[in-house]
């Protein structure tokens, strides 16, 4: 593999990783607070739709982004209501919301645009454009590092940088602030938080809301940045992969970055090297397609060991039965 191909691979990795990373961090906040969320997929999807739709209707991508976040927050609110206030089953709620998003996006898209569940293509200010970081042109000619900076690091949509900056931000919030301390505590031992005089309910709703915001950004990135339109089911299972990455990352921000980059990289590799020719025989495309998943299992079996979720995760906080 030559250097140019490597650069392309890495560039592709960044793009493929971004929605995963945002969703993964979203899940991190929620699950760290003790609320499991397999509804990441649905939140991304509904955000993708509303961001594209509102960006199209208003011609302004930032309004679209807000709408996407708003829609995702709406699902978060339902998830919170079900799993925090009404102490329902968090997994069921997540499954239901995925179904809801998958159906409602197409229904609305169809009734608004009559294009078969797709939004019209965004153009101009409705579309999220790529930006060049400072000094891109100046540094381009520096050997090795220049092209890496210019091609791999620079030249992505702004939300990509939001996603990557969200990693240190999450880390800092989690481990350096009062809010983070409480958030981690409420996922481990809500009764300790409660008896310390902090509202478990409020904390968890906050976490779930942050989850909604991040999923909203992820969805908006997909439908206004990666693609300038919404198409039905366009998240294509990325919410589940993000969930896998989260477990892989053992619910830690930097590990989440690594896990998402790994998944993104494996996907990029699978995309670029289909029908891998090994001389004697060709690896069929299906194997390459399944490769990211196979490798995940292998890595999981070999290196990661036991991933221990937040102790209070998945169970509603009940003090009086």
């Amino acid at each position: 593999m030559d250097f140019a191909t490597l650069l392309q691979l890495l560039e592709s990795t960044i793009r493929m990783s971004t929605p995963l990373l945002l969703a993964c961090l979203a899940g991190l906040f929620s699950e760290r607070s003790g609320i499991f969320d397999i509804g990441l997929e649905g939140k991304m999807l509904i955000a993708a739709f509303f961001s594209a739709a509102i960006a199209y209707n208003t011609g302004n991508v930032w309004l679209g982004l807000l709408a996407g976040i708003g829609a995702s927050l709406g699902l978060s609110a339902i998830h919170g209501l079900a799993s925090i206030t009404f102490r329902g089953n968090q997994l069921i709620s997540g499954v239901a919301l995925n179904f809801l998003a998958s159906g409602i996006t197409v229904l609305i898209a169809q009734s608004w645009y009559k294009q078969g569940g797709k939004t019209p293509t965004l153009t101009g200010g409705a579309r999220l454009n790529e930006i060049n970081l400072p000094l891109t042109e100046t540094l381009r000619d520096v050997p090795v590092l220049g092209p890496i900076y210019a091609q791999v690091i620079s030249g992505h949509a702004p939300l990509v940088y939001v996603a990557f900056l969200a990693v240190p931000a999450t880390w800092w919030l989690l481990f350096r602030t009062r809010f983070g301390l409480r958030l981690r505590a409420v996922g481990e031992a809500p009764e300790a938080v409660d008896t310390a005089g902090i509202s478990v309910i409020r904390l968890r709703y906050t976490a779930v809301a942050i989850c909604g915001i991040l999923c909203g950004i992820a969805g908006a990135y997909m439908a206004t940045g990666l693609q300038p339109f919404f198409g039905k089911e366009m998240t294509a299972g990325r919410g589940y992969i993000a969930l896998a990455a989260l477990i892989f990352a053992k619910w830690r921000p930097w590990y989440a970055l690594a896990a998402c980059l790994l998944f993104g990289f494996l996907q990029a590799v699978a995309i670029r090297f289909q029908n891998f020719d090994l001389g004697a025989f060709t690896v069929p495309v299906q194997v390459m397609d399944a490769l990211p998943y196979i490798l995940t299992v292998v890595i999981l079996a070999g290196f990661i060991g036991k991933a221990i979720p937040p102790r209070a995760g998945g169970t509603p906080y009940v003090k009086e039965r």
Binding site: F99, A244, P284, Q286, K306
Partner: protein, 365 residues
């Protein structure tokens, strides 16, 4: 001691929850510019008012019973098997191999072989995630998700490159020999005067599903293995104290779960399509999660929840037939039903409990 009678919890709560879901669905239908009452009538008539409608409802329900039971069994051992989808598809491969390559003299023999093959293949596909969980602590949720993707790729490869009859356009196996064709409800229940279940795909597999319900019930609540499985699910340290091997229970429960998911293939692949097609599980593995959760992992609950989903599928199809409603509407209705019966059930339960408590004679505990 209980806050409300058991029957109320088992009947009243889900009923009212479904009612709420129905009202919300009606609002969505109205928003789409259709009369919700007509829509509901269409669904009920199409799914429940004639035998052929039942034939479809029960066909779908059969699929969901299997995948629901699969999730339920694993749940009892506190294992979350999201891999029903992949296990069902691989089960289909087993069925296809059993039906295609052995010349069966009679469907009953073929059925036995296919059942074994489906269970075996499904179980085998669950085995790797199970053993990785038991021995290496690899999280079963991720590994089973991954195995769904891997199964899809494998089936795709097999159908495109290996089992597709030469020259055929469709990535599917050849049609199974006529001798493996399972008796449908139409063949079983029609008399010379009246044809029942005309054209519907419900077949003898439904009874296997019912038997599976009973079997799972017996397994979970009547056998030592079930006792150990539940004990392990409630408390791993407790299980250790009682001399129950966590590795064994993890693996065995996942094998049973995978086998049950695999069995779905005898209904869909052998009973209906009579050949193996791509994506033969059609999301039933995921519906199984909802079914198991709604059915509280109890076979009776799973059975009823599967019927409900069968009704939604068939009723939804009827809606689409006669009302030109986008098929996504059914997805939304399903979502609402899952949400209100499964996750927001306390929304109904708590006020009910309060009501029952208020009418309880004072002093009685």
């Amino acid at each position: 001691m209980d806050k409300m009678p058991a029957w109320a919890d088992a009947v009243l709560v889900p009923l009212i929850s479904i009612l709420i879901a129905a009202v919300l669905s009606a609002l969505v239908i109205a928003a789409l510019g259709m009369n919700p009452f007509e829509a509901f009538q269409l669904m009920v008539e199409g799914a429940l008012m004639k035998s052929s409608g039942w034939g479809y409802t029960l066909y779908y329900a059969t699929n969901f019973i299997f995948t629901g039971l699969a999730v339920a069994v694993a749940f009892h051992a506190r294992m979350f098997n999201i891999g029903g989808e992949g296990q069902a598809q691989i089960g289909g491969l087993g069925v296809a191999l059993a039906c295609l390559f052995i010349p069966w003299p009679h469907w009953s023999l073929a059925l036995i072989a296919a059942t074994l093959a489906a269970a075996l293949f499904g179980a085998a596909w669950a085995y790797i995630p199970a053993i990785l969980q038991a021995k290496r602590g690899s999280h079963i949720v991720i590994t089973t998700i991954m195995f769904n993707f891997i199964a899809a790729a494998l089936i795709n490869y097999v159908l495109v490159n290996l089992l597709r009859p030469a020259g055929a356009m469709e990535p599917a196996t050849a049609t199974f020999p006529a001798a493996t064709s399972l008796p449908t409800f139409q063949q079983m229940f029609s008399t010379s005067e009246t044809v029942l279940f005309r054209g519907s795909p419900a077949n003898i597999t439904f009874f296997i599903a019912v038997a599976a319900c009973i079997g799972v019930w017996l397994l979970i609540w009547r056998t030592r293995l079930g006792y150990e499985l539940r004990a392990f699910g409630f408390s791993e340290t407790g299980a250790k104290y009682a001399g129950i091997s966590p590795v064994k229970i993890t693996v065995v429960s996942m094998l049973i779960s995978g086998a049950l998911a695999g069995l779905m293939a005898i209904n869909a692949t052998m009973g209906e399509a009579e050949r193996l097609v791509l994506n033969a599980s059609e999301g039933a593995g995921f519906i199984g999660i909802a079914v198991a959760l709604m059915g509280r992992s109890h076979p009776v609950g799973v059975f009823l929840a599967a019927l409900l989903f069968g009704f939604l599928y068939q009723g939804g199809a009827e809606l689409a037939f006669w009302a030109n409603i986008p098929r996504e509407l059914v997805t939304v209705i399903q979502a609402l039903v899952i949400l209100f019966t499964g996750a927001l059930d306390n929304l109904v339960r708590w006020p009910l409990e309060r009501a029952f408590l208020a009418f309880r004679p004072k002093g009685a505990q």
